[in-house]
C-alpha cells in the first residue's frame, strides 16, 4: 500500500500553548482515516499544519513520499523537540566520520532519499495554495464558500489552479477550449454530487447540508489525491449525517480518494473509518481500528466516556 500522507514529530506551539505535541501519523492510499478527540485537542491545528496554514514549530509532513513541510528548531530548542527520532538530531549534530553505526547510516540514507535537506536547518513552509496544487484539498469547520458566487462558479473557481492560460490569454479569451473543458468537468462533478439542479443559485441560499456537499465538491474540483474534511457533519441532524456518511463512501469509490477527516459524530466515524487516531491535549493517546479504539481505556477516559453515555 502506498503511503500518501506522513506526519512526523509535528509540534505546533503558540507561545506557551502546545496545540499539537509531537504528532506522528500516516495515511495510506485508499484509506479513510479519522482524527478524533475532545474540543481543543489540536485536531484542526494539525490540519492547518498539514495544509500549510501554519508552519510547524518542529517536525515534517511528507505527501506522496515527498517532504512538503519541514522545520527543524536550532540551538537549545533541539533538545526540547527531539521527538521520537533522537537519531535524527544526533545524525544532524555528529560529523560524517563519527557515524559508525550501520543501522543509523542506513536510516539516514533512507531519510535523504525522501528529503534531500532532511538534515539541514532549511525550513520548508510553502503557502497553502502550493500544497493544494500538489493534490491535497480541504474543507473548513465553519463553511467557507464564496458568498457572492453561484454554486457553479464556486466549483469553477476551484479549477483555476489547473489552468494553463496566463492573464493575457485568459483576458483575451484565447483559452476558450480550456474554459469549455473546465466548465464541462464542473458540470459533470455537480451531477455526481447531486447539485446539478441548483447550479445557478447563490451558494449561500442552499440548505446547510447542501452547502457542506458543495464545499466537498469544490475541494474535489482541484483534482486532489487526498481529501481533508474538517468536521463535515458539524451541525447536522442524524438524517443528514447518515446521508453524508453515504456520500463520503461514494466519493471514496467514485474518485478513488484517500480521506482524512476530523469528526465528533462517533457513529459516522465508527461506520466509515478504517483507522482512527485519537488526540487529547495535543498528544496522540491512541491509534488503531474502530474496534480497538472503542475498547481503549485511555480513549474512553478522555473522550468517549463510559459505554452507557456513548449510546445515547
Amino acid at each position: 500500500m502506498k503511503n500518501v500522507l506522513k506526519v512526523e514529530n509535528v509540534t505546533m506551539q503558540f507561545g506557551g500553548v502546545v496545540a499539537v505535541d509531537n504528532l506522528t501519523m500516516e495515511v495510506n492510499e485508499g484509506e479513510i482515516v479519522a482524527l478524533i478527540g475532545p474540543n481543543g485537542a489540536g485536531k484542526t491545528t494539525a490540519f492547518n499544519v498539514i495544509t500549510g496554514v501554519y508552519a510547524p514549530t518542529n517536525g515534517r509532513v511528507c505527501f506522496n513520499e515527498k517532504c512538503i513541510v519541514r522545520n527543524h528548531p536550532t540551538g537549545k530548542m533541539k533538545k526540547a523537540y527531539k521527538g521520537e527520532h533522537p537519531a535524527m538530531y544526533t545524525a544532524q549534530l555528529a560529523p560524517e566520520e563519527a557515524l559508525e553505526d550501520e543501522a543509523l547510516k542506513a536510516w539516514k540514507e533512507a531519510q535523504k532519499e525522501r528529503d534531500e535537506d532532511a538534515f539541514s536547518d532549511h525550513v520548508l513552509a510553502p503557502t497553502p495554495d502550493k500544497i493544494t496544487a500538489l493534490g491535497m484539498a480541504r474543507t473548513f469547520q465553519n463553511i467557507r464558500l464564496w458568498k457572492s458566487q453561484t454554486v457553479f462558479d464556486n466549483v469553477l473557481i476551484a479549477k483555476h489552479l489547473r489552468r494553463t492560460s496566463n492573464l493575457f490569454t485568459a483576458a483575451l479569451h484565447l483559452n476558450a477550449k480550456e474554459e469549455a473543458r473546465q466548465r464541462a468537468e464542473v458540470l459533470e462533478l455537480l451531477k455526481l454530487v447531486g447539485l446539478e439542479d441548483v447550479k445557478d443559485e447563490l451558494a449561500t441560499s442552499l440548505p446547510y447540508g447542501k452547502q457542506r456537499r458543495l464545499e466537498i465538491a469544490r475541494a474535489l474540483a482541484t483534482d486532489p489525491t487526498l481529501l481533508l474534511l474538517d468536521e463535515p457533519a458539524a451541525g447536522m441532524n442524524p438524517q443528514e449525517t447518515l446521508e453524508l456518511t453515504q456520500f463520503i463512501g461514494e466519493i471514496r469509490k467514485n474518485f478513488h480518494m484517500t480521506i482524512l477527516l476530523i469528526e465528533h459524530h462517533m457513529d459516522l466515524v465508527m461506520d466509515i473509518a478504517d483507522r482512527i487516531y485519537v488526540l487529547d491535549f495535543g498528544k496522540l493517546i491512541a491509534q488503531g481500528t474502530p474496534e480497538e479504539i472503542q475498547s481503549n481505556e485511555h480513549v474512553i477516559d478522555a473522550y468517549l466516556g463510559v459505554v452507557e453515555d456513548a449510546e445515547d
Binding site: 503557502t127 495554495d129 457572492s148 458566487q149 469553477l156 476551484a158 483555476h160 489552479l161 485568459a170
Partner: protein, 362 residues
C-alpha cells in the same frame, strides 16, 4: 434564448451608433460647450473609476493610491511628449530639462501606463501584505510622498518641480478619450469575466478559502494592483491632455476621494455603475450644480448663502444621503443588461395590472 441574444446584440449596436452620432454632433457643433467638457472629463474619470473598482470592488483591496498613479502617468506622458523645440520654454528654470527627446503620442500613452505599474510593483511587494484600512493608509501615503517628490527642486530637470508642464502632444476630437477609455474598460471587462476575474472575486469573498483552493494570494493581488495602476496611469495621461497642462499640486488625495465616491455612488463591484457614476458626478460638479456657487440674485431673491464653495456643501450632503440610505449605489453589484431592463419593465407592467385588477375587484 437565441432570439434574445440577437435582439440584445441589435439593441447594443443601435445604442452604440446613437452614442457615436451624438458624440460626433457634439464634436462638430458644440466643441467648446460645457457639454463637451463634461463628456470628455466623464470618459476619463470612467476609466479611472473602473480601474479603482477592479481593486476595491472585485479584488477586495482597499487602495487609496489612485491619484498618485494618475499623477505618475500624467507626468510620464507629458515629460516624454513635449516637442524638443518647446522644452527650453517649458523648463525655463532648469535649462530646458534633462530629457531631450520626444516620443510619439501612442508610445507616450502606453508608457504612461507602464511606469505607474512599475511603481505599483515596487510598493506592492511590501504593501500588499497589509489588509483593509492599513493598505488604504499605506497607498494614500505613497501617493502623497510621490506628490512631494515630484515637486522637489532637485528633480526639477526631470519634472519641472512645482512649475507647470505644458505644450505636450494633445488630442483635438472629443472622441479620443472615449476611444482610449473604451478600449481600456473593454480589456478590464474581459479580464473580470475570465478565470482570473473569478479568482479575484474569490479573494474578495474569502481569502482563506481562496488560498486553500490553490489561488496564490500574493500573485493575484499583485496582478490586480498592477493592472489597476496601469489603467490609472493612462487615465492620468488623458486627464493631462484634457487640462493641457500638468501640475503635481492638482493630484491631491481629494482626487482619490472623488474617484472613490464615483465608485461608491455607481455601486462597488459594477463596471457600468462606475461609468454611469462618473458621468453623473462630473456633470453635477462641473455643470448642473454650478448655479449654487452663483451669488447673483436668483428669481429676484438674493440668497445670501449661495456663494463660491456652497456647491461642495450641497454635494457632501448628497454623499451622506447616498452612504446612509443607498449604500449599494446605483447599480449595486449588478451590471447593465438588456434582459435586466426588459424584466424591470415587465415587472412594472405586472404590478400595474395587479393594482388595476385590485381596484376593479373592489
Amino acid at each position: 434564448m437565441k432570439n434574445n441574444k440577437k435582439r440584445n446584440l441589435l439593441l447594443s449596436l443601435i445604442l452604440a451608433a446613437i452614442c457615436i452620432a451624438f458624440l460626433l454632433y457634439v464634436d462638430k457643433f458644440q466643441h467648446y460647450s460645457m457639454l463637451a467638457t463634461v463628456l470628455k472629463k466623464g470618459a476619463i474619470y470612467s476609466l479611472v473609476a473602473v480601474s479603482l473598482n477592479l481593486l476595491n470592488g472585485f479584488t477586495g483591496l482597499f487602495s487609496l493610491g489612485q491619484a498618485g498613479f494618475m499623477m505618475i502617468g500624467a507626468y510620464t506622458y507629458s515629460i516624454l511628449t513635449i516637442p524638443v523645440a518647446d522644452r527650453a520654454g517649458v523648463y525655463q528654470y532648469f535649462d530646458g530639462g534633462i530629457v531631450q527627446f520626444c516620443v510619439p503620442m501612442i508610445v507616450g500613452l502606453i508608457l504612461a501606463g507602464i511606469v505607474p505599474a512599475i511603481f505599483a510593483w515596487l510598493i506592492g511587494l511590501p504593501v500588499l501584505k497589509l489588509k483593509s484600512d492599513y493598505l488604504a493608509i499605506a497607498t494614500l501615503g505613497f501617493a502623497e510622498i510621490m506628490r512631494a517628490i515630484i515637486q522637489w527642486k532637485q528633480v526639477g530637470p526631470l519634472t519641472n518641480a512645482s512649475n507647470l508642464l505644458k505644450k505636450f502632444a494633445n488630442f483635438d476630437s472629443i472622441l479620443f478619450p472615449f476611444i482610449v477609455s473604451a478600449i481600456c474598460i473593454g480589456f478590464i471587462v474581459l479580464l473580470i469575466n475570465s478565470t482570473y476575474g473569478r479568482a479575484f472575486k474569490a479573494i474578495r469573498d474569502d481569502e482563506i478559502a481562496a488560498e486553500a483552493m490553490g489561488i496564490n494570494l500574493a500573485k493575484h493581488k499583485m496582478q490586480a494592483f498592477l493592472i489597476s495602476s496601469f489603467f490609472a496611469g493612462i487615465g492620468g495621461a488623458l486627464l493631462a491632455m484634457f487640462q493641457s497642462s500638468v501640475q503635481a499640486s492638482t493630484f491631491t488625495s481629494t482626487m482619490t476621494y472623488e474617484i472613490l465616491l464615483i465608485v461608491v455612488i455607481g455601486g462597488i463591484g459594477s463596471i457600468t455603475g462606475s461609468i454611469i457614476g462618473s458621468f453623473l458626478y462630473i456633470a453635477c460638479s462641473e455643470w448642473w450644480l454650478r448655479f449654487l456657487d452663483d451669488p447673483a440674485p436668483y428669481l429676484h431673491v438674493n440668497i445670501s448663502f449661495m456663494r463660491p464653495g456652497f456647491r461642495m456643501l450641497v454635494f457632501s450632503v448628497v454623499i451622506m444621503i447616498v452612504v446612509l440610505f443607498f449604500r449599494k449605489g446605483i447599480m449595486g453589484d449588478r451590471e447593465f443588461s438588456w434582459d435586466g431592463i426588459f424584466n424591470f419593465f415587465k415587472k412594472l407592467c405586472k404590478k400595474k395590472d395587479k393594482s388595476a385588477k385590485e381596484v376593479a375587484s373592489k
